[in-house]
């Protein structure tokens, strides 16, 4: 069942078009990612989904509701974590959760939420005294405190250290296992690859690809890469002739072969037939990051 349907969304600001034409649907219970560089229109898109902005064109349905017209109903059922949103410095962790819980008819168990997010010993700490990661985790807790059907999380791990990021990923998987649909905005490809069931790759206000991370990677004609050092001279032509091979490069004494399908098998049989021993042989799988670069033609902007 589809819980979010975005059709031909268009949003223009005074001087530029933030979203040209974006369409996607999110199924109940999945973690759906929107990835793309800064300024691609990701945040604008989810802000339209949340009802914070009015689209200039196209249509959006969230849980069958129109985010602008039925905003009141929707806000009971969708939890949001915004990029760059803070709390008053002197508000304590438990007070923030208590306050936000009071906005909803059937809030989640605050104590459990606090513990799950590793803020148990910070209950009495004021927001101003929390570290960046703790602030981020509190912000996620506030998005979940209303026990939403959909959680929209915008750049949820920016500013977190590697350990905190992994913990947050585990938490998001738990949230999904609890039946919540997650719409995730991120510019971290490792995060999208690890968490998302499907991702929409957005660039310059358009969806350039939409699939599961593994399919996006498999779609690349350089999905796999083999590196080895031939023990005796090797004619590149032997490898290029193989249908699985896309390219052969020399990196000093190292040979780098890219390609698809059963690349390793094809390459090693040629080597064996010609009695060439491959030393230090390594097979590398392309990541979503590589697929992203191939799709958009530029690298994901990293912090």
């Amino acid at each position: 069942m589809q819980v979010i349907e975005v059709d031909n969304l268009r949003k223009q600001y005074r001087d530029h078009v933030a979203v040209q034409d974006i369409s996607f649907t999110v199924e109940r219970g999945e973690i759906f990612g929107i990835v793309g560089p800064n300024g691609a229109g990701k945040t604008t898109t989810v802000e339209c989904v949340e009802g914070l902005r009015t689209p200039d064109g196209g249509s959006i349905k969230v849980l069958g509701l129109d985010p602008r017209r039925d905003g009141a109903e929707l806000r009971h059922r969708v939890g949001a974590q915004l990029q760059e949103s803070a709390l008053p410095d002197r508000m304590k962790v438990w007070e923030a959760l208590d306050l936000y819980a009071s906005f909803y008819p059937r809030p989640a168990d605050q104590r459990r939420l606090i513990d799950d997010l590793g803020l148990g010993d910070k209950r009495e700490t004021t927001f101003g005294k929390l570290s960046g990661g703790q602030k981020q985790r509190l912000s996620i807790a506030l998005a979940l405190v209303g026990d939403p059907e959909i959680a929209v999380l915008d750049e949820l791990t920016s500013g977190l250290d590697p350990n905190a990021r992994r913990d947050t990923w585990d938490l998001i998987e738990q949230v999904r296992d609890g039946g919540v649909t997650v719409l995730l905005v991120t510019h971290f490809m490792d995060e999208a690859e690890r968490l998302c069931d499907r991702v929409a790759v957005v660039d310059a206000g358009r969806v350039v690809a939409l699939d599961s991370p593994s399919s996006l990677i498999a779609r690349m004609d350089t999905a796999q890469r083999i590196r080895f050092r031939p023990a005796s001279p090797l004619d590149d032509g032997l490898l290029i002739a193989l249908p699985e091979v896309r390219s052969v490069r020399r990196n000093g004494v190292q040979v780098v072969v890219t390609g698809t399908g059963n690349l390793l098998q094809a390459v090693t049989s040629v080597l064996a037939r010609n009695q060439i021993v491959a030393a230090d042989l390594r097979l590398e799988q392309a990541s979503l990051d590589d697929a992203y670069v191939a799709l958009t033609g530029h690298a994901a902007v990293s912090d």
Partner: protein
């Protein structure tokens, strides 16, 4: 407790955690009355101010001080901070919405103002024998209209200020002319005629005179009530038109 009352309670808690703000808005005006009242000459009736004592004049001025501190300094800075830090936007994604926070902040400040005014009246009455308002209804009306006028101005300030810091700056700059015409440095009764005429048309000049009249047992003058109401309506409309949530 849910929704608005919960937000008001939270705003109150946050306000009470700012000792400096609490001191200036709530305690200082009563302290001002206490300090002025301890000058012996200010407790003597004076012919040039209509047979009143200076301390009698300063009770309404201290009330104006309460209003200006809350409406032009604290509320705009707080609201601008809430906007700057995305707190209003964050609330826009919850069932209560950002208007509730704005309302909670205003109501909490009004509550504080009432408390501070009672403190001022109590100090005046108990320490210096300043009579309690003889026309309580008129006094309450003058207070409410005066508060509406300056709180509407404070909202406009919060709307147009690009940042929390500038909201605070504008508030401080506005404090001086507004309080000057309210009579903080020269009470209205001692102002030259032209100055007093101008003061009649300023929000807190009108408020102070209306409070003064009601304290003495008369109904506030229509001019002063109209001036306060006009400020409240005009600035209120401008605030509604210009307020930005993000």
């Amino acid at each position: 407790m849910t929704g608005l009352p919960r937000l008001i309670f939270m705003e109150l808690k946050l306000f009470l955690r700012e000792p400096l703000a609490v001191f200036f808005a709530v305690a200082f005006p009563a302290l001002l009355v206490g300090i002025l009242g301890s000058v012996p000459g200010f407790r003597e009736p004076k012919q040039d101010i209509g047979g009143l004592r200076v301390i009698d004049l300063y009770v309404p001025i201290a009330i104006a001080f309460v209003l200006v501190m809350l409406s032009l300094n604290l509320v705009p800075a707080t609201l601008a901070t809430y906007r700057e830090r995305g707190i209003l936007r964050r609330l826009a994604t919850t069932p209560v919405g950002p208007t509730a926070l704005l309302a909670a902040q205003m109501l909490m400040s009004l509550l504080m103002a009432v408390g501070a005014v009672l403190l001022v009246l109590a100090v005046g009455r108990l320490a210096f024998d300043v009579a309690l308002p003889q026309q309580p209804t008129g006094f309450a009306l003058a207070f409410v209209l005066g508060a509406a006028a300056v709180f509407a101005m404070g909202l406009v300030l919060a709307a147009v200020a690009p940042s929390a810091r500038s909201a605070q700056g504008f508030g401080t700059v506005l404090f001086f002319p507004v309080m000057f015409f309210a009579g903080l440095w020269v009470p209205r009764a001692a102002m030259p005629g032209t100055l007093r005429d101008i003061s009649d048309f300023t929000p807190l000049g009108a408020t102070v005179q209306a409070l003064q009249d009601a304290a003495a047992g008369a109904w506030p003058q229509a001019l002063h009530l109209a001036v306060m109401a006009a400020y409240a309506v005009v600035f209120g409309l401008v605030a509604v038109r210009t307020f930005r949530w993000q």
